[in-house]
Amino acid sequence: MSELYQLVNSQKGKATAIVGMTKNVGKTVTLNSLVKEYEMSGTALGLVSAGYDGERFDRLTLKEKPRIYAPRGAIVATAQACFNAAEADLELIEVSSFSTPLGPVCLARVKKAGLVELAGPGSVSGLKDLIEKMISFGAGHVLVDGAINRIASASPQVTDASILASGASLGPTMDDVIKKTVFRRALLITPLLNDQAMYKAAREGLEKGNAVLLHREGSGFHADPVTGMIPLLAGAQLIGMCNEETSALVFGGALVDNILQDVMDLYENPPLIIVNDATRLFISPEIYYRFLGKGGEIAVLEQFNLLAVTLNPTDPCGRGYDPQMFLNRMEEAVKPCPVFDLVYQEQTVL
């Protein structure tokens, strides 16, 4: 049993997302490794993609990609055309209402193991629905393969835990790759808001508006909800209402650079920033670290559970790093988060 499998299997959740820093960082390799372990353990897996996985060649680089092997008994969710073209023998369970250019997403049980292409529903709400369906049809755990650099599938509202795949194709140097991965991890592990009174006020405020201003009032907080056409616009309005008494700003949607910049311009000591979860953070490293430097803090209402980082030391379009050195340096940089190079570690164990 691999350590990564033990990590995934030891958590209580029903679904794990594999997300990547960019293309070609080994998301599917990580998925396949877990699929193999689950097959040996006898657990029926649910398999779905947040994008499109398992095709033979990369659509942009035209290089060969890892295929996806679906073991017998697994439940897969994939677009109709991929269902029809699968090498594995699939038995249709249900045609869902989620449409893709390759037909509606179908749920199917694997009768005879083989390769499949997974084309997902495109939206996170679709993923959430399909995960629940796969569980109801008997999947013991669901793995969600990520797409490019998208992380919305790892939102705590959709999956219970996540694995972050990173690798050489992320940047021109090893230092750059590590720096970008460290930053992404820093955002993902943004801490849970632990002030109960504030948490309650933020939640209640978000039911009335899509951005909320919190002021201390007695032992609790007074919430000023603002409703904008989209949460982002409400957030921008919120800036204009800030004053010295403001304890926290709650954003119901995305937190972008401009807003954080405005907060920094307004305050010497910025109030607490609260977002729903870490997938709502769209901020650049420069702005983020400057905000922290000013003593700023960000908290989430739902915690992101990052299980591990996996590494691909080679970039299919060139560059490659010494796997052991890459592994050591990444481990050091993201401590105490476990780091794995599944391909290299399997080779060195044998």
């Binding site: 677009a79 073209a85 390759l102 989209i230 769209f282």
Partner: protein, 250 residues
Amino acid sequence: MDLDLTKVKTYGDTLNDGALQVSFTLPVPAGDEAKEAARQIALKMGLEAPAVTKMADLGAGFTFFVLYGKCTHTVDYSKIKIPKQQQKVLSFKEVNALIKNKLGRKVAVVAACTGSDAHTVGIDAIINMKGYKGEYGLERYSEIDAYNLGSQVPNDELLARAVELNADAILVSQVVTQKNIHLENLTELIELAEAEGLRDRVLMICGGPRISHELAIELGYDAGFGAGTLPYHVASYIAAELVRREKNGK
């Protein structure tokens, strides 16, 4: 003529002769040595009986070749399975009629080149009234209100405008290169739409020379249109999908 689909070979004059033609350039001056080099390249490619039929001096020490040879490999055509999209395409008039009869309201489409991209040729061909290749653009459709926001539009601004205009569909044009430039522009828009709770409210469509339906699925879009797309392809998709969603009560 007995064609064995399990062993398909390239065709020249007779079935299974394996004949094929390749053309390439070598960075050496034209001459007998260059010709021999071209033949050796072909042999290494697995071609039998390679014959250079054309050698042209490109100048500056480069030479262009056309070479015939025989391919020794076969493929099993009967085992090939390719996932294919099946989408019915409607004409300009049919799209307008479908929207009018089945939706009973005008459809709003917001289009832009986002991020750092300023390649507006594609999106203009789809949106502009005069259209492209004799096909009217979306602006000309009586049942579509099309808004072209232009180039280098930030993703957050595009989403805000789309909500303001009550858009049914967002069209994003992007030139995706091999080095993934602009690719992350496209994924950021989707992630932002998810974070803002807009993803299920609007059809998200991308387009550009390297974009396909499969890439669109990977990017998280509802549909993607590549080279050769005409305005009515996009309009048909939007109209049919909106009607389908309305029927499903979404």
